[in-house]
């Protein structure tokens, strides 16, 4: 992973950044695209499949194979500097012929730009895409949530587990269109499985990031963690 650039706070934007204004009179379709879209076309002609502008926001449909390279370039290039990953999510459409899309929202604080990246997965293929965790470590939980809700596997993610539903959840992926609103199991079975879960087994010391502060902990607590004790009473 490359070293992160200097932190830029909203007050310290690049001189080339436009003055922030409230957008008015935006068209549903069309309008000026984010300058990064043109730069992407010039630098990665093979990766960019389509550029849409809707309500003044730019969406770029990318080739899944080159996703990580493009994102790394957007992050590192001094003329782009997308330093903030806002969200990772997915969209599934009711029409089964329309491919499922995975969406990344990027923000360039120095240039005051917002860019939406999309990757369309071919219907019938495996729900897999490369993780951008090597570029943005903040993608960790966002991709876990996307996996939890949609079942999309992110290749290269360091710890791809469920994050909102409990880890033993076996009913599927709730935001998929084939998932019934009330879940797959009966209410009594759902309740039985939920009550069978051990509340203390859900959060390890590691998950509560005590492991990061391990060296600063008191000696007795270090001893307890080393013995494998879980949090709780």
């Amino acid at each position: 992973m490359t070293a992160p650039g200097p932190v830029v706070y909203p007050g310290g934007a690049e001189p080339a950044a436009p003055t922030p204004v409230s957008p008015t009179g935006l068209a549903h379709r069309g309008g000026p695209a984010n300058p990064s879209a043109e730069a992407l076309r010039a630098r990665w002609p093979a990766a960019v499949r389509r550029v849409d502008v809707g309500w003044g926001e730019t969406s770029v449909l990318l080739d899944p194979a080159m996703l990580v390279d493009v994102v790394r370039w957007l992050h590192d290039d001094p003329a782009q500097r997308y330093d903030y990953l806002v969200d990772v999510t997915a969209v599934e459409f009711r029409d089964a012929q329309v491919p499922l899309e995975i969406v990344w929202h990027l923000r360039s604080l120095p240039f005051r730009r917002f860019l939406r990246l999309k990757v369309a997965l071919v219907p019938g293929s495996a729900l897999e895409v490369d993780s951008i965790w090597p570029v943005y470590h903040s993608a960790d939980w966002l991709e876990r949530e996307c996996y939890d809700m949609f079942g999309i596997r992110f290749r290269g993610h360091p710890d791809l587990r469920r994050i909102l539903m409990w880890e033993q959840y076996r009913e599927g992926f709730p935001l998929r269109k084939d998932f019934p609103l009330r879940g797959r199991f009966s209410r009594s079975e759902q309740l039985r499985q939920a009550l069978a879960a051990n509340p203390e087994a859900k959060y390890s010391m590691d998950e509560l990031s005590i492991a990061d502060a391990y060296e600063d902990l008191p000696a007795d607590m270090r001893q307890r963690i080393r013995a494998g004790e879980q949090t709780g009473e």
């Binding site: 009711r94 909102l164 539903m165 409990w166 009913e171 709730p174 269109k177 084939d178 998932f179 019934p180 609103l181 009330r182 879940g183 797959r184 199991f185 009966s186 209410r187 009594s188 079975e189 759902q190 309740l191 039985r192 939920a194 009550l195 069978a196 879960a197 051990n198 509340p199």
Partner: protein, 201 residues
């Protein structure tokens, strides 16, 4: 014609016992320590109830007990997702007897509008509930009314009647036991089925 008056000490309590009942119940009803289990907007109304304008302390509840070991009444304010179901169950088991439970608001009482895969359809499927307070969320007056109802319920308890404090596990060998699949099947026309969703998918 002779009239036989029988005296059965097992079923009748004397004057001292009833007065002692009154004293104990009076003490319990007016020093309920609530364990607030606030998960959603009902908790905001609960905080308003505890604050100066409505002032729970008037009813002997000035001390919020954030430890279940020292609590008397669990006030569940807000929706409970399935992920929290074992947590609220454990909190209830950690509370010492005598203990009571108030289910505050539509979501805690019935799941409310959240008739979906993630939310428990009423906390009475997990723990016993004494008073249900309707509303979405209930106004502080509503919660106070529920608390007054609980106090009236506490005042009616008799120490000789230990069954109210018995904690029963469902007995599968009992003739009255209905297995969960049968309950599901019976309640299917009323929307407890997994086959139907609102979107029609």
């Amino acid at each position: 014609m002779g009239l036989t008056v029988s005296y059965q000490p097992q079923s009748q309590e004397g004057w001292i016992a009833t007065r002692l009942n009154f004293l104990v119940n009076w003490g319990r009803a007016n020093s309920l320590w609530p364990m607030p289990f606030g998960t959603a907007c009902c908790a905001i109304e609960f905080m308003a109830t505890a604050a100066s304008r409505f002032d729970l302390a008037r009813f002997g509840m000035e001390r919020m007990s954030y430890s279940p070991r020292q609590a008397d009444v669990l006030i569940c304010a807000g929706r409970v997702p399935f992920k929290l179901a074992p947590v609220i169950r454990r909190i209830w088991l950690q509370m010492p007897q005598p203990k009571w439970c108030i289910s505050m608001g539509a979501c805690a009482s019935s799941g409310g509008m959240f008739d979906n895969y993630a939310v428990v359809q009423g906390i009475d499927t997990i723990i016993p509930v004494d008073v249900y307070v309707p509303g979405c969320p209930p106004r502080p007056e509503g919660l106070l009314y529920g608390i007054r109802m609980l106090q009236a319920k506490v005042m009616r308890e008799r120490m000789a009647d230990t069954t109210v404090r018995d904690e029963m596990e469902p007995d599968p060998t009992s003739r009255l036991y209905i297995p969960p699949p049968a309950i599901d099947e019976l309640s299917e026309p009323f929307g407890n089925s997994v086959q139907q969703t609102r979107s029609g998918l």
